[in-house]
């Protein structure tokens, strides 16, 4: 079962996700990237079946790119992107649902950092930190204890490390590799990963 974690800090958002693609007793891959970049300054960590992950994220990302082309280079704000995702999920819910749980993080010049938690039923909430999957049972309490309003980027990365360490210690399912990305005023960048997604 996928793990997606996210925490905001002063000036950005840290997103982390496990890198395993497995079903039943088989592990297909251990280096997939579940944190999809949507625009230059936003990304979403996705938990769910690989097919829905790919179809949904590419659909959203391409629609956001279309918006930018149609509107003379203006990008949608993170809040607008999150609400767009929500309405697509809500419409699909009673037709052909995407079984994806999301943590959408972004940085806007006027608002700063923001993080949106969304479940597969399309309930949307702005949060300071969040976690999806079974690992949420282990990690949310760690984040409750360690989150502060004025975290630095290093402190936020440390909190994520504590969460990943807890998952490695106590979570039954083996998730050795984690992808960690940071979104700040300079955009989305990879901080570290366990398995290189480009390694085919």
């Amino acid at each position: 079962m996928d793990t997606v974690l996210a925490i905001t800090f002063k000036g950005g958002v840290v997103l982390a996700a496990d890198q395993s693609n497995a079903r039943s007793i088989i592990s297909y891959q251990s280096n997939i990237d579940k944190i999809k970049e949507l625009t230059s300054h936003s990304a979403m960590g996705v938990a769910g079946p690989n097919c829905d992950l790919v179809r949904f994220t590419e659909y959203i990302a391409k629609n956001l790119a279309l918006y930018k082309l149609n509107h003379d280079g203006t990008q949608l704000s993170t809040k607008a992107q999150a609400n767009f995702c929500r309405s697509e999920l809500a419409e699909a819910l009673r037709k052909g649902p995407y079984q994806v749980n999301l943590l959408l993080g972004g940085f806007d010049k006027d608002v700063g950092q923001s993080l949106y938690y969304m479940d597969y039923l399309a309930a949307l909430e702005k949060v300071n930190y969040g976690a999806h999957g079974h690992a949420s049972n282990f990690c949310l309490s760690i984040m409750d204890k360690e989150y502060r309003d004025d975290l630095s980027e290093d402190a936020a990365l440390k909190v994520i490390d504590h969460c990943i360490h807890e998952i490695h210690t106590r979570f039954l399912i083996s998730q050795p590799n984690f992808m960690v990305k940071v979104i700040d005023k300079d955009g989305v960048r990879v901080v570290k990963f366990g398995g290189d997604p480009a390694d085919t």
Binding site: R86, S87, L89, A90, L93, R94, Y117, D119, L121, A122, A123, L124, E125, V127, G130, S136, N137, L140
Partner: protein, 204 residues
């Protein structure tokens, strides 16, 4: 486990003397796990009309947007404000239109009509509505809420008494329900304006 109890909610709307109040909890959960303690379930639909949406969180947000759209369209077409009775009927019809694939919402409506008299109504998920002059409740602990309201309610309360009654009734009810609580919000609607207060109760 019922889909109406997946996210958790508790809300009350109660009438006073020329005023009406609506209160709700702030928890957003996924069954046993709490995701947010800041989730909005009561929405202003005009300066003297509030709607509380209890049930599946996704449908709370979808229905809120749908009702805003329908209200705006009405006000643009009719060139007048929508009265609470009309809004209640609209809500009822919207819910029944999805009779065989419903929105998982059990709403309550609280407002003041053009003579500043309280209007209260509640509905089930397929639009069967009821109109009362004392109080309506909805959510995952309606048993608790009914008991508290029946005990604490008295007619013709002024805004301050109404606030106190709503706050005590809500907090006592959610403390015995695992799926609701984590704070509350109360709106008191009077002819001169709306008073909103946040409640801090047991954070569990």
């Amino acid at each position: 486990m019922s889909i109406l109890e997946y996210n958790g909610a508790a809300m009350i709307a109660m009438a006073g003397k020329n005023c009406v109040g609506i209160a709700a909890d702030r928890r957003l959960g996924m069954q046993a796990q709490t995701v947010s303690t800041n989730f909005q379930k009561v929405f202003p639909m005009g300066d003297k009309l509030y709607v509380g949406l209890a049930g599946l969180a996704s449908d709370v947000q979808t229905l809120h947007q749908l009702l805003e759209y329908r209200l705006s369209l009405y006000e643009l077409n009719e060139e007048r404000k929508m009265s609470p009775q009309v809004f209640s009927t609209l809500l009822s019809n919207v819910l029944y239109s999805k009779r065989f694939g419903p929105y998982f919402i059990e709403p309550i409506v609280a407002g003041l009509d053009k003579d500043n008299k309280p209007v209260l109504s509640g509905s089930d998920l397929i639009g069967a509505s009821v109109s009362t002059d004392d109080f309506v409740v909805s959510g995952t602990c309606t048993g608790n809420l009914f008991g508290m309201c029946e005990t604490l309610y008295k007619p013709d309360m002024d805004p301050d008494q109404l606030f106190e009654t709503l706050a005590q009734a809500l907090l006592a009810s959610v403390d015995r329900d695992a799926l609701s609580g984590w704070g509350g919000v109360v709106h008191i609607i009077t002819p001169t304006g709306v008073m909103t207060k946040e409640l801090k109760g047991r954070q569990d």
